[in-house]
Structures are given as C-alpha cells and as structure tokens.
C-alpha cells in the first residue's frame, strides 16, 4: 500500500558546515491506489511534489551574482517593431543588474555579431551597450545556433563558478543556418548545462519552432516562453531575470528507485534518464518557494497476494542528496476483489488527467499542423473518453472532459498557427508545473 512514509528522522547535527543541501524544503509522494493485481501487471500512478526553500527577496539583501548572455535574433522577420521591443526588453533587464553581475549581448542573422566580451554590469558598460544596440537593424536569415553558442562561449570564457550563468535566446523564426534540428541543439544545450551554463528561450509570434526552443530549454535547464507579440517581450525578459535571481537550488534532480520488477514512466514534461538503478528526473534550477509536481506511471510486477513493491523518491542537488527525507510509495499485490473495490485518490486522478490531457493536446497540435485533422481529433477524443471512465461526479474532471471534447472538434479543422502555439505552450507549461505566463509555479500562487 502507498504508505507514503517519511523514514524516521533523528535530530541532525548542528555544526552547520554543510547546509547547501537545503534548497529543497519538502518532498512528498502519493499514489492513486493502494493495491495492484497479483495475477496481472497493473498500471498505477504516483504524484511526487517537490517544494523549494522559501527565501523571500528582502530589499538590500545580498543575492548571488549572475552571468547573463543575450542571444537575440535580428533577422529580416524581426522587423515591424519586434526588434525595437527586444532592444527595450534587454535594456530594462541590463539596468536591473548589479555591479557583481556580468553580461554579454550577441545579435544574429546570417552573421553573428557580438557587442563585447563578457563584462561587469557597471553603469558605464550597461549604458554603452544599450547605446550601441540602437544602431542594430534587421536583415538576413537565422543563424540561431551560431548566435546562441557565441553567447554561451563568451560567458564560458569569463565563467565565475559562484555565479548563476544563463543564456537567454530570443527569436521569432526557425533556425535555418547552421545546426537547426532538435536532435542537434537539444544535446548541445545539455552539454552547456553540464558546464554550468543554462539556456532559456523566448519564441515570438507564429514563425518560430516551439519544439526546438522547448527542447533547448528543457535540456538546457532553463525556461521557455511564448510571446504572442513583440510587445510581450519586456515583461517576459523581466520575469526571466527575476527567476534567475531567485534560484535557491541549482541542478535539482528527482531520483526514483523502483523495487524489483516495477517499471517507471515519467508522464510530466521533464527530461529524465535511467541510470541503471534509478530514474533521474531533471528539475533544473529551482526558484524560491517553487512547487513542482512530477507525474509517474508505474507498471507493477505480478506476484503472490500480499507481496509488496513500489518506489522510493529522493531529491538530489548537484549530484548530492538534498536534506529531505526519502519517500517510500508501496503497493500491495491483492486478489481481484480487493483490487477492484479499492478507493482512488481524487487529487492524484485530477493531476494525472491534466497530464494526459496536456500530452494529447501537444500531440494534436502537431497532427493539426501536419494536416492530420482526423488523427488530431481522435487523439483528444480518446483521452477524453479514457478520463470519462473514472471521472465519476468530480466536477473538475467533468470540466476537463468537456474541454477536451471541444478541443477535438476544433482540431478536426485546420487551426490558426497562433492558436496552435498557444495550445502547445499552455500544455507544455502545464506538464512542467509552470504558470500560464511561463513563470515557475510557487506555493503562494495557489492561495
């Protein structure tokens, strides 16, 4: 049964020499049901909730230094006010930096133009960069890879180990010069991440490749944002900078150790890998009070009635354990009657339904774009029907089923690209515990 037990916690020593494992405040896990069938491999779902330490911003309180690299698209399509808004957003962000921070600005079209090497954010340096950026104009194609890598290499050359380093990529188009595929840029973002430089991406309008930018942010340990218009850029860049400054745990990982015979699949949109003994779910950098839920689908083994199996969840920060108790979620194998009559956890059912809906919507957007309208509608309808089987009288699940049914009707016809992007982005955010504006969800958002 899912005892969700915290393993007994003795008093910790208080010599205080190693407190950096405390970036995560709580870790808990709960399952949708307590039993699995002894004679069949049963599917069960587990919801793991991770909350980062709350460290409210206090005016005048020191924060850690940041190194930020802007890689900004100035290709022909960035005309019509988007380039001006990008300049404004960047200028406002640069003015927020402290002297201990450093920055670099790289513009790209067919060519890559780096303004300066990575420099301290003194008032003179910031003002000079803002002034120099005014002369930048649009033209050419989109050498996205070159611009992004140049910003990252510039930061790497001036890397300060204590600083949080991030490249913010801003583009409105698909990469069409140099490496341009998810399979190329995703691993490259991962490689940079392993060197301590994370990547966040902002896509503007309907022309950019959201699969590419989402993959770069996901593999790169940063955030991805959708700006419907250039006018949204200043708000988004400010939000991103706020997130960078509020990081309390770098490189957080949820570690899931299954018992023998249990198979784990991560339903949420986080990057995950199997290490040979554990599933590692990459949660990225966590900001103060951030709340993440990770949805898991387990396949239990068969066995004798009364046998136990399950998973153990723990958290890592930078490859070392976070100082929160491990959570054990245990299931008991039972006969058919016991299994069929067990209650379900409504909260887990709701979150799983949201995760399945998000996956179905992202798949439907992709199919609609490829003119596979019937398949897109089928995907959504099938998910709605599946949720309907267990929704009972739950108003939230009933509303979700109604929305999916409506979405199925819409996706049966060709849709506007902006609507598709909005649906994909919202679903992608939902699958990674983000708010609809792309910011990290915090426990205070619920109240």
């Amino acid at each position: 049964m899912p005892s969700n037990t915290k393993i007994q916690a003795p008093t910790l020593p208080t010599d205080g020499r190693d407190n950096d494992g405390e970036g995560i405040a709580t870790l808990d896990a709960r399952a949708d049901r307590r039993y699995g069938r002894a004679t069949h491999r049963s599917r069960r779902h587990v919801l793991v909730r991770v909350v980062a330490r709350n460290e409210p911003a206090v005016p005048g309180k020191e924060r850690g230094p940041v190194q930020i690299g802007f890689a900004v698209d100035r290709s022909g399509s960035m005309g019509g006010g988007k380039l001006d808004m990008a300049k404004r957003a960047m200028a406002e962000a640069l003015q927020q930096l402290l002297i201990k921070d450093s920055f670099t600005v790289v513009w790209f079209e067919s060519q890559v133009l780096r303004m300066e090497a990575c420099q301290r954010a003194t008032a003179a340096a910031v003002n000079a960069t803002i002034a120099a950026c005014q002369a930048i104009d649009t033209g050419g194609s989109t050498a996205l890879f070159g611009g992004w890598v140049t910003a990252a290499e510039t930061i790497a050359a001036a890397r300060e180990p204590d600083a949080l380093a991030r490249v913010l990529l801003i583009t409105d188009g698909d990469a069409n010069q140099g490496p341009s595929e998810v399979a190329q840029l995703g691993p490259a973002a991962r490689e940079l991440r392993e060197k301590g430089i994370s990547t966040s991406c902002i896509g503007i309008g309907e022309g950019y490749n959201e699969a590419l930018l989402t993959a770069m942010a996901r593999e790169g340990g940063g955030n991805d944002y959708f700006a419907a218009a250039g006018a949204d850029l200043p708000g988004i860049v400010a939000r991103e900078l706020g997130e960078v400054k509020a990081v309390v745990a770098r490189g957080a990982v949820l570690q899931i150790r299954p018992s023998q015979g249990v198979k784990v699949q991560v339903l949420s949109g986080f990057r995950n890998v199997w290490t040979g003994t554990d599933v590692h779910v990459d949660l990225g950098d966590l900001v103060s009070d951030q709340e993440l839920t990770v949805a898991l689908r387990l396949t239990l083994p068969t066995g004798a009635v009364g046998d136990k199996c399950g998973i153990e969840c723990s958290a890592l920060i930078g490859a070392e354990p976070a100082l929160v108790p491990a959570q054990l979620v245990e299931f008991t194998l039972a006969d058919g009657a016991t299994n069929d009559s067990q209650p379900r956890d409504q909260q887990v059912d709701r979150e799983m339904a949201r995760q399945y809906a998000a996956r179905a919507r992202m798949a439907a957007v992709d199919m609609n774009r490829r003119r596979r309208y019937a398949a897109a509608a089928h995907e959504l309808k099938q998910t709605a029907e599946h949720i309907a089987k267990y929704m009972g009288n739950d108003p939230e699940l009933r509303a979700l089923v109604a929305e999916l049914t409506q979405d199925a009707e819409r996706m049966a016809l060709e849709q506007d690209e902006l609507l598709r992007k909005q649906m994909y982005t919202n679903s992608s955010y939902g699958s990674r515990s983000k708010n609809l504006d792309g910011s990290s969800r915090r426990t205070t958002d619920r109240s």
């Binding site: 393993i7 020593p13 049963s42 018992s259 040979g276 153990e312 070392e320 100082l323 491990a326 599946h386």
Partner: protein
C-alpha cells in the same frame, strides 16, 4: 569482510571530517543517511560532535547496498540487525544481486587485505520486460555498458511505439 585497521579506530569517536576521510562519503550524504534513519546521530554538538567508529564500515555497507539498487528502507531493515562490532570485525557479508553489482562495486566494502570476489565468477540472471500483452524481452544480466544502453534504447522505442499505437490507456486493471 576484513577488519578495519586498528590505527584508524578512535575509541572517543570521529569528527565529521575524519568520518568523511575514512569512509569516502561526503558530509551532506552522511547527514542524509542520518536524516533517513540509516545512521545514528553523533554524541555532542557543533565542533564537539563525535561519531562512533562503527560508522565507517556502516557507511561503506550503505553505499554498497545502495549501489546494488536497494531502497533506503530495505537497507535500514538489513543493517539495523547488524551490530557495529560485527561490521568492524567483518562478520557481516552482503547478499548482493548479481544483476546490479559489478565486481568493482562488491570490492569497495572490503579492506585492502581482504579477499575480493573473483570477477570471473559473477552470476548471471535473466530479467524480463513485458513490452505488451504476449510480447516480452528477456535480457541476461550483467550487460556491458554499451549493451545496456542498447537495451534501454529498445525499451524507449517500445514505449514510443505503444504510445503511438494508442495503447497507453489500456491495462487500467
């Protein structure tokens, strides 16, 4: 298991730093084990905190069992029944699953003078994965890293195929 060299045993206990040096386990991980009830806390507090010498082989035993894929609760259950004296005297022997423990890992618990397991005598074990009703993959363990990677790729591909074929919603038994 071989005995711990007596020169390393301080009857008054070890500082956190000494415990780290002798066990090779970082202070944060030591605290994590204490937090999860695998290790008793120190006597004294702050810089006067002292850890019993039995913690050194106990930490090695915990790491060994962790590397073998055991969950913390199972490790705690196994080691709760073993005294510090038994650990220090080398009277506890782990029962490792050959599926997960490499000979190198098994050797880690043993002091340098102790006999090590013969790497050529590693037992093999078959693991089976149910890909779909009536479709199973059987894998003989242990595998080389590259073979293991290929198996993982195969399993990922099978998952993708299942999702593509819309089987994900079946089996809600």
């Amino acid at each position: 298991m071989g005995q711990l060299p007596t020169s390393q045993i301080d009857p008054e206990g070890l500082t956190l730093e000494e415990l780290k040096d002798q066990s090779g386990v970082t202070p944060r991980t030591i605290r994590y084990y204490m937090l999860n009830g695998l290790l008793a806390g120190p006597t004294g507090a702050g810089s006067a905190a002292r850890y019993p010498p039995g913690h050194v082989p106990r930490l090695r035993a915990i790491r060994l069992l962790q590397d073998d894929g055991r969950q913390l609760a199972a490790i705690r259950a196994e080691l709760d029944a073993v005294s510090d004296d038994d650990l220090l005297a080398g009277r506890w022997r782990p029962n490792l699953s050959s599926a997960r423990a490499s000979p190198g890992v098994q050797g880690r618990l043993f002091a340098d003078s102790s006999p090590r397991p013969d790497p050529t005598t590693t037992r093999t074990q078959w693991e089976h994965f149910v890909l779909e009703d009536g479709v199973e993959l059987h894998v003989r363990r242990p595998l080389s890293t590259s073979a293991n990677r290929r198996v993982q790729e195969l399993l990922r591909f099978a998952d993708k195929l299942r999702n593509f074929m819309g089987v994900t919603d079946a089996e809600e038994k």
